[in-house]
């Protein structure tokens, strides 16, 4: 048995089998070391996968060697290889980061459970991304969601509102997942298959009310999971009250994965790219997704300005950023799709770094209100520096990744002649200047000579290093744009490729 041949299964099988063992390990350091080692192993697998796909093209892996229409297929093309790499990379950074942060934020006895849940959450997200079987998406989505509910609720030691946030997330998430299953059932009834590529082939020329309603159910279900603007209500509270490292992980990965599923269904299954309009896809893109995206990025940005809580502010900003991604998706062009892919990747880098910076503040100062950030540039220079750089990236200042993705998005909107959205992209970026600038201004404020703030130690190295890796990635990939843009363009093409790889 060649290990390379089994590579697509490894990132899923490994954590799925090894995560439960975490619970049996002693609390604290040992379980942390164990979980971190697993996360690095998965990162290694995913990096190998990305390399393989980049070099040799898409990989199709038959689980248990059952051929696709009947068996379950794992299909790795450039699009999901990129996302797999992203998830596992964020995971590999969050696990080392979380040791100190989690020790401070949750009960020490709960740490093994925490690491097990985080590993399972990661497994679920990876599984959703890698699979080529539509029902598998649901199963993995629920694996990740269930562990996420538990993870969010663990923030209760800091703030009991985490419990209600987790409960609301559970209700909304379950409704979303169930809608997704209903949609799948309708599609299965229409096509008799669950394999994505197979389904795509069978849907051609099959545009009736059943397919349309299936499409609508999947769209709304995934919209709930990815916090599309009017369906985002679970997100701000869940992100604000979850433990810091959980927020950093979720903000960087969870919504991206749901968005990926939506793209996969839109472009690989309903197949807008080749000009076949199944399930009234074009109309949906133009008259539903685009307005929702634009309103979302505008309203959520505005709400973010008035937040008193930095974590909550960043959560609203996440909703706005999802608006950007949906906008790129709604353009229905390859340029728009690659802009979405780039922004998915870049947003993970900046939001990961920002939430980690907030986590450092929570670790030293015990809170994430805006007042805790006063004079931070002097008190915790490294943390403040990371926050400023990734905050600028969030705004879209040149030389950072945020600029690259906004630039691509603008280009994509110009390409299809959508002037209003392109104007609104710029306008909402200006709002981002306001809310990020507010925090930066407070951090840089010189100390009051009459009432000096007590000096605080800088966050521990174990938290600073992962955070700064993300920050450096923010800047490096903002300068070396070719790398991400190339892969994302290939990824956008990969959605086409599934279509053209005619089964």
């Amino acid at each position: 048995m060649n290990l390379i041949e089994q590579l697509p299964a490894l990132p899923i099988i490994t954590p799925l089998l090894l995560a439960p063992i975490t619970i049996l390990l002693p609390k604290g350091k040992i379980s942390w070391l164990y979980a971190t080692a697993i996360s690095w192993l998965i990162f290694f697998f995913c990096a190998m996968l990305l390399h393989q796909v980049y070099m040799h093209g898409p990989i199709s892996y038959f689980l248990g060697n059952w051929a696709p229409p009947l068996g379950i297929e794992y299909r790795v093309d450039l699009a999901n290889a990129l996302l797999l790499f992203l998830i596992s990379a964020i995971g590999a950074l969050v696990f080392p980061y979380s040791y100190a942060s989690i020790m401070a934020e949750i009960d020490e006895r709960q740490t093994p459970f925490f690491y097990a849940a985080l590993l399972l959450c990661m497994t679920g997200l990876l599984g959703v991304t890698i699979t080529g079987d539509a029902f598998n998406v649901f199963v993995f989505l629920e694996i990740s969601s269930l562990s996420t509910y538990a993870l969010v609720a663990l923030g209760a030691r800091q703030d009991r509102r985490a419990l209600t946030a987790a409960f609301n997330y559970l209700v909304m998430g379950t409704i979303g997942a169930t809608f997704f299953v209903i949609g799948l059932g309708l599609l299965y009834q229409a096509t008799g298959t669950l394999n994505m590529a197979d389904m795509q082939g069978k849907l051609v020329g099959l545009d009736n009310r059943m397919v349309q309603s299936g499409f609508a159910f999947i769209f709304v279900g995934m919209g709930l999971k990815l916090a599309m603007f009017p369906l985002h209500l679970w997100l701000p509270n869940a992100y604000a009250y979850a433990p810091s490292s959980v927020t950093a992980f979720l903000a960087a990965t969870a919504t991206k994965v749901a968005l990926y599923v939506l793209i996969r269904f839109f472009y690989s299954i309903f197949h807008a790219a080749n000009g076949i309009d199944i399930g009234s896809l074009f109309a949906t893109l133009q008259y539903v997704v685009m307005p929702v995206a634009v309103i979302g990025m505008f309203v959520a940005s505005l709400v973010a300005v008035f937040q008193d809580d930095v974590k909550r502010m960043l959560a609203y900003s996440s909703v706005a950023q999802i608006g950007y991604m949906l906008l790129g998706l709604s353009l229905g062009s390859e340029a728009g799709l690659s802009a979405t892919m780039v922004h998915m990747f870049n947003h993970a880098l900046m939001k990961g770094a920002l939430f980690m910076a907030v986590g450092c503040v929570v670790f030293r100062l015990g809170g994430h209100r805006i007042s805790h950030f006063t004079g931070l540039a002097r008190r915790m220079p490294w943390t403040a520096g990371a926050f400023i750089i990734s905050g600028l990236s969030l705004v879209g200042v040149p030389l950072t990744v945020g600029f690259v993705s906004k630039w691509m998005l603008l280009q994509a909107t110009f390409e299809v002649g959508q002037w209003i959205p392109s104007f609104l992209i710029v306008a909402s970026s200006l709002i981002a200047v306001v809310y990020v600038g507010r925090i930066i201004e407070i951090m840089l404020r010189s100390p009051d000579p009459d009432n000096p703030l007590p000096s605080v130690k800088e966050a521990p190295l174990l938290m600073l290093v992962p955070m700064w890796i993300l920050v450096i990635a923010n800047v490096y990939l903002g300068l070396q744009t070719d790398l991400t843009v190339d892969i994302a363009k290939g990824a956008a093409e990969a959605f086409d490729l599934v279509v053209r790889g005619a089964r």
């Binding site: 051929a67 229409p69 009947l70 029902f135 649901f138 199963v139 629920e142 269930l146 509910y149 538990a150 609720a153 209760a156 703030d159 009991r160 509102r161 419990l163 209600t164 987790a166 409960f167 559970l170 209700v171 379950t174 409704i175 997942a177 169930t178 299953v181 209903i182 059932g185 299965y188 009834q189 229409a190 096509t191 008799g192 298959t193 669950l194 197979d198 082939g201 069978k202 099959l206 009736n208 059943m210 009017p230 209500l233 701000p236 509270n237 309203v299 959520a300 709400v303 008035f306 937040q307 008193d308 809580d309 005619a502 089964r503």
Partner: protein, 391 residues
């Protein structure tokens, strides 16, 4: 109209349950009631999936012990086993498609009540099952496989053509016996180690695809054209005969390629294809009011899916209830407005006193009732919009 509603009563149940569940989730303030609503909502989906899996007259996809015994012994026991495998696989693709075709459009559905149903049905099955077969044949690049395929293909084609010609003379039996005598070319090809799983698989499915899709529909048509009163009967018999013939062929293939362990695949697929035709004639048999000794299986796949969904539902409920317990511990209440009021007090008043939460909640509730429209002293100081404000 009434007919329309009554025929789809399970869908109506699904819709009613779904709406009831969602309504409870949205309208009830009690967290446990919300979870109950969520459960009802999920149950509607279970029923929906079970409805998908239902096949008219179908039984559970389990093999009865005495099924299909004592029939034609040419195939031997192996053949029967492999054929059976195909049978159970039939549920997978065949029934999924037939379900699809039923709901696709009104047209096909009503066909079942007409005399021409026979033909359309056969077409239906043929058309639906062909895509995977033909595409698989494209992937075959093994020269040997093609070789073997060609040989088998030709002989089969001849015989089957024979059959379809003879049908008009009502000489079905002879033709079928003819068909059964097809010999698998016993040559080194089969022992060739380069013939791997895949290629044989392709050969098998190819063969069966060709027989079942083209020739069999032809045969069925011919039988129909004869206008015999037992037309469907004949077709049914023919299908059984053919199936057994293919089984025999499959088993022969299997026995020859035993060291490669590929018999199962080949046989399975051949059986699958034939049984598709078989099923179509079977439904024809139903029309003329005949009792048929064969079994139709309901589609097992939706049931498997829904088992998974049930597990997910149970897990979700468990997590939800666990959260409800923790919320009650922390807040002392499970009512949503009391929770919100308690949070407001915690945020703007005395922060996070766990013990006094219950009293706080009551106070807050009272305060809320008195001053619903007055701006609360606390909220004005920061002006923080809660998540609700932008929805």
């Amino acid at each position: 109209m009434l007919q329309f509603i009554l025929e789809r009563y399970n869908y109506w149940i699904v819709i009613i349950l779904m709406m009831t569940g969602l309504y409870i989730v949205f309208s009830r303030g009690n967290l446990v009631k919300k979870i109950i609503g969520l459960n009802i909502f999920q149950t509607s989906v279970f029923i929906f999936y079970i409805t998908i899996g239902k096949v008219a007259g179908g039984t559970a996809p389990i093999l009865p012990a005495d099924h299909d015994k004592g029939g034609h012994d040419e195939g031997g026991h192996d053949g029967e086993e492999y054929g059976e495998e195909g049978h159970s696989e039939e549920g997978h693709s065949e029934e999924g498609h037939s379900e699809g075709s039923i709901s696709e459009a009104g047209g096909h559905e009503t066909d079942a009540h007409e005399t021409g149903a026979h033909e359309t049905n056969a077409h239906e099955t043929g058309g639906h099952s062909s895509p995977p077969t033909t595409s698989e044949s494209h992937t075959a690049n093994d020269a040997n496989a093609f070789n073997l395929e060609g040989k088998l293909d030709n002989s089969l084609h001849d015989k089957v053509a024979n059959v379809s010609n003879n049908v008009s003379n009502s000489d079905i039996k002879d033709a079928l016996i003819d068909l059964k005598t097809i010999k698998v070319p016993d040559s080194a090809i089969l022992q060739d180690p380069s013939l791997n799983d895949e290629s044989l698989h392709v050969v098998g499915s190819n063969l069966s695809g060709k027989i079942s899709n083209d020739e069999l529909t032809q045969i069925t048509k011919n039988v129909d054209k004869d206008g015999l009163s037992e037309g469907s009967n004949a077709a049914h018999g023919l299908a059984i005969e053919l199936e057994n013939g293919t089984k025999a062929l499959a088993s022969e293939l299997a026995s020859k390629t035993d060291p490669l362990h590929t018999g199962g695949h080949t046989g399975g697929h051949t059986g699958e294809q034939t049984s598709g035709v078989h099923e179509s004639s079977l439904s024809a048999g139903h029309q003329t009011g005949e009792t048929v000794g064969e079994l139709i299986y309901s589609n097992p796949l939706p049931h498997v899916l829904i088992l998974t969904a049930i597990v997910v539902g149970v897990a979700t409920t468990a997590v939800g209830l666990a959260l409800a317990v923790r919320i009650r511990e922390a807040y002392g209440t499970l009512e949503e407005d009391e929770l919100e009021a308690a949070d407001d007090i915690a945020e703007f008043g005395q922060k996070g006193s766990y013990e006094g939460a219950e009293d706080l909640a009551k106070e807050a509730k009272a305060a809320n009732k008195i001053s619903t429209h007055k701006p609360q002293a606390g909220t004005s100081q920061t002006g923080t919009p809660q998540s609700g404000s932008i929805s």
